[in-house]
């Protein structure tokens, strides 16, 4: 029982980070109908940025976070202006290939700047352990959980109570209406990419703080897709719930099934099984809007 609860708690913390990354994906999708395959690579860049600001530059944690966010904002603006804006109105495949290409360019940049090496910075994040009964919550997961909750709260606030948030929600609803009442769609697109980059980079720093920055960080993006599909691609709340569910499921499945299966590594493919099952039985996910097509 303790083993089970331990898996659940670890899964919860991991799931919040998944949810955070998945939200970046959902925001871009809602506002500009772009499926951003490169979301995982924002995380990769974030992990390395965290290392750069914390270790060689030796900034305090809050300054490092702010600096990384500043870089993320510039990155988001550049990506939107240079790569995505020329493709407005192009078919899905062109846009998806563009974000895949973007992901390889980001991967290449990370290799160029950081040499694709493993960079550890565990000790630098503040520690904070909690024990509930027999279950210990590791410090990294706890911090991940707290930061993720704060980020999600800030995003919720922006969406609900600010003008740009309103514009973004309106754009998600109907692009033509939004343009006809004088909201600049390009601004909304730019803001959505900036938010996605910032969220990805924060996720990267969190994950980097747990396991160190390395090129495998980008794989988290694939898990975020499973989260997004499970939650429903156009639901932010869905992304959070699905993130937590998937994080827990993955840990429980890996904890119990890995000793039985010969090759192991179930945690890596688990999200894909979830993806296929969701796509076959409930393509719009748990909380997404069903697209109705009648002939």
């Amino acid at each position: 029982m303790t083993f089970f609860l331990q898996l659940i708690v670890t899964g919860l913390a991991q799931g919040m980070v998944y949810a955070l990354i998945a939200i970046g994906f959902v925001i871009i999708l809602k506002c500009s109908e772009v499926f951003n395959i490169a979301q995982g690579h924002f995380v990769l860049i974030g992990g390395y940025l965290g290392w750069t600001f914390l270790v060689p530059l030796g900034l305090p944690i809050w300054a490092a976070l702010l600096a990384a966010i500043a870089v993320a904002i510039i990155m988001g603006l550049l990506i939107e202006r240079l790569m995505l804006r020329p493709l407005v109105g192009q078919p899905v495949l062109a846009v998806v290939m563009m974000t895949i290409a973007l992901s390889t360019v980001l991967g290449g940049l990370a290799t160029l700047l950081w040499g694709a090496e493993y960079k550890a910075y565990h000790g630098l994040l503040p520690t904070l352990t909690m024990k509930v009964g027999a279950i210990s919550i590791p410090s990294e997961s706890l911090i991940g959980l707290i930061v993720s909750v704060i980020c999600v709260a800030i995003l919720m606030f922006i969406f609900r109570y600010t003008k740009i948030g309103l514009a973004m929600r309106a754009t998600a609803e109907d692009l033509q209406v939004v343009q006809s009442i004088g909201i600049k769609a390009t601004t909304v697109y730019a803001v959505s990419w900036v938010i996605a980059c910032v969220v990805g980079v924060i996720g990267g720093i969190l994950l980097g703080g747990v396991s160190g920055a390395n090129m495998d960080l980008s794989n988290i993006g694939l898990k975020a897709f499973a989260v997004v599909l499970l939650g429903g691609v156009n639901s932010i709340g869905g992304a959070i719930v699905a993130g937590i569910i998937l994080g827990m499921l993955e840990n429980v499945a890996a904890g119990y099934l890995d000793p039985i299966l010969p090759g192991g590594g179930l945690a890596q493919v688990f999200p894909f099984f979830v993806m296929i099952i969701v796509l076959v039985f409930r393509p719009h996910g748990l909380f997404g809007l069903a697209r109705i097509e009648r002939v």
Binding site: V96, L102, S103, G108, F272, M275, I276, L279
Partner: protein
Amino acid sequence: MGLRTGTFHENYAEDMATVQSRLQWGTLAALLAFLCACPLFSSDRMLTILTTMGIAVISVHGLSILTGYCGQISIGHSGFMAVGGYTSAVLCAKLGWPFWAALPCAALAAGIAGLIFGLPSLKIKGFYLIMATIAAQFIIIWIIIQLRSITGGTDGLLVPRPMIGSILLSSKTNFYYLVLGFVVLATITAHNIVRTRAGRAFIAIRDNDLAAEVMGVSLWTYKLQAFFIGCVYAGLAGSLLVHYVSFASIEQFPFMDSVWYLGMLIVGGMGSTAGAIFGVVALKLLDELVTIAGPILAAAVAPQAAASLAIMSHGLVIIIFLIFEPRGLHHRWEMIKAYFRLWPFSHEVSE
């Protein structure tokens, strides 16, 4: 794009002919003769490049039918190649089947895998389908690793050199001719499949699936057919690849290959048989360029610059094509041909 001067199409057969003029026949024959003569003057390295290009062309023809014509985007093509490759490897290495018998089985196995993972396409499209096919890629590779006793798991599997009749295909030249034969066959079939009833149904589904269904095109039948045909090509290519290297391992079928096959389609131009070939040649040549430029760059700039270039090169080229030439090399090629055909009245080439 209009007809050549002197091409009149006086009867139905002429109108339907794939190769329509003497000039085209001549160019094709010259190209084939050149390809056949290649082993006489090219180095081992060149032959390796040409053979891998050929294998990729076969695979991309399949993807071209599935994605370029039927509009069902698949980023799992390399996974389906793995199904074909491993089927063929297991049949030859473990059961001692001859190569020529294992090859069709490999193609069929990949086709069936395509049918299974094509099932979600009946309910979903666009991005959702992309996700389903990405999942297919990872699940197929995972299953291959799990079936360690049959496939050798992560260790891979040694495949004996293929025999056809009494000829042992041991040299690069032998294999080059084998692959060349299959490339010609694949190109002819791919070019003609899209001219059949099924091919027209594929195009209808790509352009507007609702309209197609209203007109009586069965989405169920034709989407699955497209998946089957596309994956048969992939299985064929996978089997050839495995026999070419005499070794089957999961590293031969990486996820990024699936992505680049799609990239080749974009660079070459969607929805044309020639485009698939253009795309493969362009991106494979780029690979060679990177291999040559890598050491120079590493010496001149930084050691990791070469690795970075290898990762980025395809992505950068695809970005450039998507922004500046979204219809691919094939479209550019048609424009150039039209320019010469209509010269000096080139202003008529307007779309």
